[in-house]
Each structure stands twice: as C-alpha cells, then as structure tokens.
Subunit: 373 residues, 2 copies
Amino acid sequence: MNRDFTFTFGGAVSCVHIQGDTPSIGDIMDSAGKGASKAVLVCDTHTAPIARRILGDHPAPLCILQPGETSKNWASIEAVLRTGKDAGLARDGLFIGIGGGVVSDMTAFAASIYMRGAKLCLVSTSLLGMADAALGGKTGFDLFGMKNLAGTFYPAPLIYMPIAALSSLPGREWKSGMAELIKTAVLDNADEGGAFLALLASLKPLLQDLPISPRVLQGSLEPLVACIARSVGIKGRIVESDPQETGGERALLNLGHTFGHALESSAGLGRISHGEAVAWGMARACGLGRGLGITPKERGDALAELLRAFGYETAAPHPLMGDPRVFMKAIQGDKKKKAGKLNFVVPAQTGAVMVCGEQVDPGLLARVIGGVS
Amino acid sequence: MNRDFTFTFGGAVSCVHIQGDTPSIGDIMDSAGKGASKAVLVCDTHTAPIARRILGDHPAPLCILQPGETSKNWASIEAVLRTGKDAGLARDGLFIGIGGGVVSDMTAFAASIYMRGAKLCLVSTSLLGMADAALGGKTGFDLFGMKNLAGTFYPAPLIYMPIAALSSLPGREWKSGMAELIKTAVLDNADEGGAFLALLASLKPLLQDLPISPRVLQGSLEPLVACIARSVGIKGRIVESDPQETGGERALLNLGHTFGHALESSAGLGRISHGEAVAWGMARACGLGRGLGITPKERGDALAELLRAFGYETAAPHPLMGDPRVFMKAIQGDKKKKAGKLNFVVPAQTGAVMVCGEQVDPGLLARVIGGVS
C-alpha cells in the first residue's frame, strides 16, 4: 500500500510516506538527513502509546499534551519549546509530532519558532491529519477564542501517514477527517465524472459502526488508502501553486471553513469537531453558491446527500451555533478578509471558486446561515 | 541626509529609509502599498511620544509596552496580537513598530505569526535598532531565560530610520548601539584601510557626555549618518547572501554574540545592555582568535583600544558575569550549535571567520572567558 509523494512548497521540500505501520525513530532520524543531532517527540495522551512504540529505547524525551482543540494554546506550545530547551536542542534539533491535526499544528508551530526554525517531522495518526492538517505547512494555535489566530507557514520536510494508526481512532475522529476528504474531492477539478466522490461514498459502510474494528478497517484498506493518497496529491499540487495563500488558489482549500471556523468559535472551541463544522460549512457554501447562481442544483443536492449519508448535520441554523451575533462576529474575523471584505469559497460546475463578499446580499447570507435576523 | 536602500532577502524585499524626521502614518500607509486597510502601532513608554506624533489624529490603536529586555516575553507579544485582533486586523493589516531593538523584535515577531503573517513596518528610534535590529528579518523574544529562544525570520518590507529620534535616546542606549556599529565595521571586508573604524572612532567625542544634547547631535550628524548608512549597507548585503543563516556568512554577524548572549543570560536578562555585552564578547572573540593564531595581534589590540575608548568593559571575567557555570551552560545553549558543536566567530586579518568549537582547547576558552576553573 506504500505511496510516496514529494512536493515543493516555495523552495521547501516536503516528502510524504503513506505506509502500513509507524516508522521507528531510527527511520525518522535517518530520513531527517544530516545534522539532526537530537530529537524530542510530541504527542497527546491518546497517541502516547504510538509515540512510545516509535521511541523504543531511544533516550529522546516525550512531551505529552492534553488532547483536543481546547489545548491548542500557548501553554501547550510553551511545553513543547521547554522540552526542546531542556533536552539541549539547538537549531538543528528535530521536533517529531505524533498525532492528529492538533498535535501536528502545535508541534509544527513550536518547531517553526524554536531558535527561528528547527527541524520537523510529522507522524500523522488521524484521518484529519492525513487528509489535511499534516500537509501544506499551515501551523498555528487558537488565541482569544479565534481559531489559529497565531501561526506560521512551515512545511514539514518529512511526513509519515501510517495507516495502522487509524485502527485506534475514535469514531468522532473518523467523522472529522472524512469531511476534509470530501472537501478535497469537491475541489478536484479533474474529478468531472465524480469518481473521487464515488470512491468516498463507497467508504460509507466503514463509518456505520464507529469506532471501526480492525477487521472492518483491514477489509476497506484499499479504497481508504486510495482516497488518502488522492487527497494528498490534490492538496499538495494546490499548495505547490500557492504556498502561502497569496495567489488565491490555496484559499480554495478553505471551502466550508469560513462558515465552519465561525461555527467552531460560536459553539465554543472544542464543542464540535473541526470536520463536522467544515461539513456543515460546505452545506452552507452550497446554499450560498446556489443563491448566487454558481453552484449547479444537482451538484449541491448530491453533496448535501453525501454529507447526510455520512451523518453530518447539514441544516441551518446548526443546533450548536449558539448566539447568531457571536457567529456573525466570528465570520467577520475570518483570516481571508482582504481590504476589510470577506471572501467565500463555493462549489462550481467542477471544483470551486472564490466569491468576493461584496457580491453577497446580506439577506442571502442570513438565510444561508439560518437563525440570523 | 536622506539615504535609501532596497534589499532582497530570499524573495522578500526590504526598503530602508534613513531620513531626518519621523514619517507620518499617512506616509507609512501609502508606502506599505495596496491593501493595508488597517494598522496598529506598537511602542514602549519611552517611544510613545514619537508614536503619538506619527499617529496624529489617525484612529489606529497604540499598544504601549514596558521598555527593556525584561519585557521581551510572550505576555508582550500577546498584548500586540490582542491589539491587532481587537482592532479587527485581517491578514492584510499592518503592524507598525516604533522603538529600538526590543520593540522591533517583538512587533516583527507578532506580525510574523498574526494570522500566519501580517504586514509590517518598523520605525527604528535607537542606534541599536538602526545599526542592527530593524534590518535583516530576525525577530524573537526571550524564553526560559534564554535570549531569543523563540523567533522567526520575517524581514520588514518597510523600515524608517529617523535620525531626529536619536535626540531623545538615553546614554546607555547610545553605548548599546555603538557596539553593533563597531561589530559591523570589524566585519567589513572592504575596510582594509580601516576607514570605517576610523569614522567610528571620530564619533567618540559624541559619547563623552551622555545623553547627547541636540546641539552636539546636530554637529555630528554627518559622520553619524555615514556610519549608520555604511552599517545598513554592509549588514544588508551579508543578509542578502544568506537570509536565514544557513550558509554561514550571516552567522558572521554574530561576532561577539556567542559570548555576549551568554553574558546577558548569566548576568540576568536586562542587567547589562545588549551592546555592552556584545562589546565585551568582541573582546573575548579577539582573545580567542589570538589564541588560535587567527586574529593578528595589532588588529586585536586596536579593537580592544577602540572598545575601551568608548567606555566598554573589555576585561575578563566580566564583573556582572555571575556564576561561571551558569555562563558556560548559557554558552552551550547557543543557537548556532551544529551537530552538538559550538561555533565561534573571531576577527581575522580583514573581516572575521567562523571557527568550529572542536578546534578550541577548553583551557584556552576558559582563559578567554576568565573566572572559569
């Protein structure tokens, strides 16, 4: 099942290895290349067993964070930096993040600022990490209640995606990661026949009975690995074309995220999983695109049906949305604003397009979000 | 007296304007180019009057930090980020740092992580800022007692050096900045005749009676501006050749800093000014270079004499060094270590060279530092 990718993000090379099992720390230190003299491992309490397996009897220290979005904060970053400092890492020291999106984002951010940039390897253990977070260099943590308010662009030169790690993934995490896979499939311009979306739909039985038993996982390995590999390929190529989201193409990867991030904020960070928020956000983006005459009805309907089939909430307003004014304030704080104007990504005939917020009638936006008077 | 420079640091363009007076916020917003829709100003209690003059009646908020090395910490960074967030800055918002090295380092770091990178302008109001800190993209703050443990490379696209700001500079700050000017002159390979060092020596009367009166400053404007401009040119070209200190040439700018940073740490951050520590560090580098047969005796003697003439402590051990074991531990934590090995920059026949720590006999190192048994 091994698949290897090499991307170049604005001069930084990123190698991705999709493989069966986790690498050993020896494999990682060898692949991290010359000069990585010392390493620290970062994980959370869920991924600590995987981290200990990777570590073996190597003396590198382990920094174990609390899991989940609520610990994606400066205190966690400081804990990672302190582990590096106490272990005597210099600028050529290696930070190895072992976990899902949260551990990836935080380890990569800490590495990016440690002595102005240390070495970095990510071992992605969740579907969300493999489908999205580990690849492309976006790092960050939440601040003042805003998702990823602080962050950097710092692509990991070395990324492992060990499929075996998914066998211990909680059900909620499967659902969170699947939404990012669906998002990438919607963005896939080459997917005119809808083959990628159909492949994803074939994974539905996988999510019927969560968490997935190792036997069921084993039986669905082939299409699952194919979906992850296709997603890695699509996202990698988009990021290669616009590494720091200056040109516009990378911003398309935010499909569902403008609405989704605002939902995460207004519900209270950590109350709804990132992927579930993004899935709901994609349904909103379809509604907006329909209202603007951009998203074809059949495409919007098919996507909504797929999302519902995977058990995502697609109706507006979202039951966890809370105060609509808080939601609207959060959406106004979106990072993708330019010259004070919001931008939205909406599905088109194929792929998706960016729409300038000025073209969006406030009444249409309110109807799409729901509950906003 | 206006001098303008344009550098390219690995794809990032940095424009430097040496000029008489401070720019207005209107000038800055115009020069910051399209799309900088909102701005926040960052200063410390010393530079707040300058910041208010720049601001005029513009509604941008002012974030006033406590001055000095002891406030170069995460709490200050968070205050800057919060000001940006509360003012509704998006990724295209502009952070304007008005102050010396500490304000420059912190504003630039905050801008570099705000929504993964916002716009940045630095108005350098101290000699240290003009001679060194504002230019070249190194940002950072102190953590766990270690200088600049956390930081990024984030060159400011727009830098002003208003000479008038120096008229309110405290005496200690003059002394701190002069050391970085001397360092740059030592590094100047083109200065075989020692013209730059002689020009600096001509500024000695300026520092006899600190703080400098506006009348004395006015009388020495021409050589002072010439020294700052020459320093900007030399540093800019070195950084252009090695923007992120990967190739080795930029590391030469750390002349005096391996010893100096360790002294700052062991004395207790903020107890000795950065420049005074660097001056002492340069005297150590000369001693080391002499012991290794790299620094010619005459050059080492001339530099030590110049440093003493400016009133710098050049003897070892330094009276504020404190526990030599703390000093040695700090030196071992130096960011420039590679594969666990320290590196030192020492003056050569012209310019300076990097010496691998392995070539340095521990006994020689102990004698050079002094007080180490």
